[in-house]
């Protein structure tokens, strides 16, 4: 099903040399990065990164370990201040903003090394994600004013609604830290969605998931895109997921883009095979041999 969804979209050229899905052509891009870069000391972790994302596009960011993928997420969310280039979110420059402001403007993310509030329940984690969506002042909370009760009720309902995307309402009272790995990754996605983003960044969402869970995740990512009408940019090493749902893929190596294109173009690109896919295949092959 997911396979079919993707192949329906046709990528069309966008003025700055990028491609967006045909359906997003008239709309303002949600994200535009140009010449984005960062140096750590002398190390150019990311260099001359350019991307344009349509408002309902699912994009992929792949590349070998240490290529700079997570660093790009950290740049987009202003965890790191870029040393070069610009980031525009719906045309708005993110350069002077902080992580918190960027989230309020509409970028939410998950983390490669999961960062949940492990001592709190699943529902509390989502409620924290709803922080700016359903406000309630400190004094209403302390004095238990009616505003407090109505906000708590709204938060509860909204949290349950969001958890139901991944069928997790039954886990609402479980400590987040005691969830299995796959469920923790899903909860992180729900928490990010709770902030009502326009662009969702997923850092290796399928890491640690079994093939069945990954399959479900693929369907859910597409469902989230369709239901919330947002753009999703994901980093992933699982090529089945990337090739299955991404409409536009960007391959990084040593901080530089080495290829861009549709899954078909990427899969058949000799440069990509040389730098990344070939290695992945031989690694997978080696694993199989070990198992055998």
């Amino acid at each position: 099903m997911s396979e079919r969804k993707r192949t329906e979209t046709r990528m069309v050229p966008y003025p700055s040399g990028s491609f967006v899905p045909e359906r997003d052509l008239g709309a303002q891009p949600v994200l535009e990065c140009s010449h984005l870069g960062i140096e750590f000391g002398g190390l150019k972790a990311v260099e001359d990164f350019n991307i344009v994302m349509g408002p309902t596009e699912i994009g992929g960011l792949i590349g070998p370990n240490g290529a700079g993928k997570t660093t790009i997420f950290n740049l987009l969310t202003k965890v790191y201040q870029p040393t070069h280039g610009s980031i525009l979110l719906q045309g708005r420059d993110l350069n002077p903003l902080t992580t918190v402001e960027v989230n309020r403007l509409g970028i939410a993310r998950t983390f490669q090394n999961i960062r949940l509030f492990t001592n709190m329940t699943v529902e509390e984690n989502v409620r924290i994600g709803l922080h700016n969506q359903i406000p309630c002042g400190m004094f209403s909370g302390i004095l238990r004013l009616p505003a407090y009760f109505s906000a708590e009720k709204k938060q509860h309902e909204k949290a349950m609604e969001l958890l139901s995307i991944f069928d997790m309402t039954g886990l609402a009272d479980v400590k987040a830290g005691s969830l299995p790995y796959g469920a923790q990754r899903r909860l992180e996605i729900v928490r990010a969605l709770a902030t009502a983003p326009k662009l969702l960044l997923l850092d290796e969402p399928a890491a640690g998931m079994n093939p069945h869970e990954t399959e479900e995740l693929m369907e859910n990512i597409i469902r989230i895109r369709d239901q919330f009408r947002i753009a999703i940019l994901l980093i992933e090493h699982d090529m089945k997921l990337v090739m299955g749902i991404c409409e536009d893929i960007c391959v990084l190596n040593f901080g530089r883009i080495i290829a861009k294109g549709t899954p078909e173009q990427i899969q058949n690109n000799p440069v990509v095979i040389e730098a990344y896919l070939g290695k992945q295949r031989s690694e997978a092959g080696a694993e199989k041999e070990e198992k055998a």
Binding site: F111, N119, S140, R144
Partner: protein, 348 residues
């Protein structure tokens, strides 16, 4: 279900305080020793101080070593206020005077907390602890520079200049004299209930969750749009205000009081109550503070060993409390206790 159990847990906490109040009220009329009677109000004050410090240390996750400084600001503001109000409005109901003094102490300390929080909360971990320690001492030294006097019903105050008209009530390092001792046990219990309500309600609200999110994982909290500085500040200022109120009640329990009372030892003592009661555990804090404050009284013959006993208990709590096996055991005994990790894990 979960929220229900929290609600019940909070009710039990209030219940324990009210039960203790009933028992003590009865006992006071039926042969409570005068030395114990004299300890009731200070116990209440220390319970409030420990609850408020637990908000900073346990809920917000910032180790503060200067809590006695806030207590001092509240104490002197409260004592000066009550002395002046009684001189200016001799007809006023004494409990109203006390309330005004306590509220005044709280508000002043809240402002001081905000001023100190701005620089201090930029720091983290051990640095923050050291700087709060320093601020505690700075506050005490600044308070030593103030002078207040009463001329009839008029209040005079000065900074660094003891030559002010009328009768001196607050004389720099010599502290305050002639306080009317309005504090009583019922007021102390009310203040405990108030502090508990503020802290417990705060914890179970959107703001409290944001404070705890900031403590548990700063980066994740920022990634969902939580303004970390704001919520650290909120916890710190609330904590300061409650400490100031406790200080004001404390000062109104004694005829005279000097700033030397509010030194590092006192800060550490409050911290000991918090650690013993459990980081982030308000009910434990109430119980531990009461027991530890009474301990020297119970062991009156060995009272010179008080600090030794503290030290040993502190070491035991540190050693035993961090043993995972034992921790699980405690948790099983106490189903309501929330295990709280002090800091967000590693890589921050």
């Amino acid at each position: 279900m979960k929220r229900n159990s929290k609600f019940v847990s909070n009710l039990i906490t209030y219940g324990i305080v009210i039960a203790a109040w009933l028992i003590c009220s009865f006992w006071m009329g039926n042969g409570m020793s005068s030395s114990l009677k004299a300890m009731l109000v200070p116990i209440c004050c220390y319970v409030v101080l420990a609850i408020s410090l637990n908000l900073t240390v346990g809920i917000s996750g910032e180790l503060s070593l200067g809590h006695a400084g806030f207590m001092a600001i509240g104490a002197f503001t409260g004592a000066i206020l009550s002395t002046w109000i009684i001189a200016a409005f001799p007809e006023m109901n004494k409990d109203l005077v006390l309330t005004l003094a306590v509220v005044g102490g709280g508000v002043t300390t809240m402002i001081a907390g905000a001023l100190i929080g701005i620089p201090v909360l930029r720091l983290r971990g051990d640095y923050l602890a050291i700087v709060t320690l320093a601020f505690g001492e700075i506050i005490r030294n600044i308070l030593n520079m103030f002078y207040f006097s009463l001329d009839g019903s008029r209040l005079f105050g000065s900074f660094g200049n003891p030559n002010i008209p009328g009768k001196m009530i607050y004389n720099g390092a010599m502290g305050i004299k002639g306080v009317k001792m309005l504090a009583h046990f019922n007021a102390g219990v009310l203040l405990i209930l108030f502090a508990l309500a503020v802290v417990l309600n705060l914890i179970n609200s959107r703001s409290g969750r944001a404070i705890m999110a900031t403590r548990d994982n700063r980066i994740a909290a920022e990634s969902v749009g939580i303004n970390i500085t704001k919520y650290k500040m909120m916890a710190f200022v609330t904590s300061a205000a409650l400490a100031g109120m406790a200080g004001a009640l404390y000062a109104n329990n004694f005829y005279s009081i000097q700033s030397s009372k509010f030194n590092v030892d006192t800060s550490i003592q409050i911290l000991v109550f918090v650690v013993m009661g459990g980081i982030g555990n308000m009910r434990g804090t109430v119980i531990a503070t009461t027991l530890l404050y009474l301990l020297p009284e119970l062991l009156r013959d060995f009272s010179q060993y008080r600090m030794l006993i503290y030290a040993i208990m502190l070491i035991l709590v540190m050693v035993l409390g961090n043993n995972p096996l034992l921790r699980n055991l405690w948790m099983n005994i106490n189903p309501f206790r929330k295990p709280l990790k002090r800091r967000a894990k590693a890589d921050e």
